[in-house]
Every structure is written in structure tokens, then in C-alpha cells.
């Protein structure tokens, strides 16, 4: 990152990535639990375990982090930089859930990362 983005902005951006990815993975863990049953029983099962709450907690904090982030940089730049969350979640899905990275996915991930890098470095 260049001097055009302050330490606070970069910090908020990184925090947003961590919170978004953790939240998504927590929801995935909550929803993917095969012992959970159906209907109301499923919701009760999820509510008694930490994953759903971890996801909700991450999203609540992320909501505030994103507002703070966007208030410090132009919106057109902010939404583009935020696209990196797609990449982070796909890579985390690969690491933790063994999701496949096909060639087309790798190309997609590379292009999104390249785009975010151009915006981050160029402003």
C-alpha cells in the first residue's frame, strides 16, 4: 500500500477481511453440521452451539468497521478494495473445508487480487 492509504485505513481493511472471513466460515460450520436435524430442531441445535453466534458477532463488528473504513476513503475506491473478501473466503474454504480450486477459480482469484492491488497502489 502507498502513502495514499493511512495506517488506520489499511488496519480497518485488514480487520474487515478477518471479520468477514471468520463470519462466513462460522456460518458455514453452523449450517453444515450434519447432526443438526431439520426445521425448528435445526435452529435449536445451531443456537446451542457457538458457531452461529460467532458468525453473528463477527458481522455486527464488521458492520461498524466497514462504516469507519468507508468514511475515510472515497466510496468508489472502498467498494473495489472490499472485493478482496471474495478471495479471502475462497482461500479459507479451500484450507478449512477442502473446497476445490479449479483452474477457472484460480484465474478468477488472481484477477480480483490484481484489480484490488491496482486500486490499492494507484488510488
Amino acid at each position: 500500500m502507498t502513502g495514499s492509504l493511512s495506517t488506520l485505513v489499511v488496519g480497518l481493511w485488514l480487520l474487515n477481511i478477518v471479520l468477514d472471513t471468520t463470519g462466513q466460515l462460522a456460518f458455514k460450520a453452523a449450517a453444515g453440521d450434519s447432526d443438526a436435524g431439520d426445521g425448528l430442531a435445526r435452529w435449536k441445535h445451531m443456537a446451542a452451539r457457538p458457531w452461529l453466534w460467532l458468525g453473528i458477532g463477527c458481522y455486527a463488528v464488521e458492520f461498524l468497521v466497514w462504516i469507519a473504513f468507508l468514511s475515510l476513503i472515497p466510496l468508489s475506491e472502498g467498494v473495489l478494495l472490499g472485493s478482496i473478501n471474495i478471495v479471502a473466503i475462497m482461500l479459507a474454504g479451500r484450507l478449512l473445508f477442502g473446497e476445490k480450486l479449479t483452474r477457472l477459480r484460480v484465474i478468477g482469484i488472481a484477477l480480483v487480487t490484481l484489480g484490488v492491488a491496482i486500486v490499492g497502489l494507484g488510488g
Binding site: Q24, L70, G78, S83, G108, T113, L114, G115, G122
Partner: protein, 135 residues
């Protein structure tokens, strides 16, 4: 049915765009950023923050409704294309400028999102796949 998808995607984009614009206005009116109760009170003390909530909730339900019917790949791609509408509206509403870096970056990001959407489409029929991450 095609008209249903198109309407659904446009509605999703509209809700996402509303949320981002509202976030920006709400944040700008609450400056300076502080890790404090005072900042939180400023954020929640003006109406735009509720526009963001409406946008989020609306986008969530539109997404869930779309996923029941629409193929996952195009749905995934469409759900992220609000970057385009948000960028264009930012120029108009906030007097922002389209720098060369932003235009080039946006082109690469959109191309990447389209690739990821195609990858989802090829993978498996929508019935087998859990909802992909919405960011």
C-alpha cells in the same frame, strides 16, 4: 422466467447499492472515526444508518429467493456486480473521480468475478451446492 431472474438481480443490486451509499453517508456524518461510544452515538443518531440496514436485510432476502430458482454461477456474479453501480453513483452523488487505477482495477475485478461465476456454474447443479459466500 428470464424476466424473473433479471428483475431479481436488479433488485439485489439496488439493495446492495443502497446499503453501500448509506454506509458512506452515515460514516461521513459521524467523522472523526473513534473507538468510542460518542462515535457509535453519532453513527446511530442519524437516519442513513437505517438505510444501510434496509439495504442489507433486503439484499439478504432477495438473495435467498433468487437462489431457490436461479443458477448459482450467474447469481454469484450478479451479487457482486454492485461495485459498478456504486462506483458510478459515487461520481454523481459524492463528486468522486474515476481514476485510471480505479477503472483498470474495476475491469480486472469484474473479469475475476465473472470467472468465479462461470466456475460455480460448471462445478455442479445448484441443488447440490450450498449457498456461496455473500460478501
Amino acid at each position: 422466467m428470464r424476466r424473473f431472474y433479471l428483475f431479481g438481480f436488479l433488485l439485489l443490486m439496488a439493495f446492495d447499492t443502497l446499503a453501500q451509499i448509506s454506509f458512506k453517508v452515515a460514516g461521513s456524518q459521524a467523522l472523526p472515526v473513534q473507538a468510542s461510544v460518542a462515535w457509535l452515538l453519532r453513527v446511530f443518531g442519524q437516519p442513513w444508518i437505517y438505510g444501510a440496514v434496509v439495504g442489507y436485510v433486503g439484499a439478504f432476502f432477495t438473495w435467498m429467493a433468487l437462489l431457490k430458482h436461479a443458477p448459482i454461477g450467474p447469481a454469484f456474479a450478479a451479487s457482486h456486480l454492485e461495485v459498478v453501480s456504486v462506483m458510478l453513483l459515487s461520481i454523481w452523488l459524492f463528486d468522486e473521480h474515476l481514476t485510471v487505477a480505479r477503472v483498470l482495477g474495476a475491469i480486472a475485478i469484474i473479469a475475476g468475478i465473472v470467472c468465479l461465476g462461470l466456475a460455480e456454474s460448471r462445478e455442479q447443479p445448484p441443488d447440490d451446492e450450498p449457498a456461496p459466500a455473500r460478501v
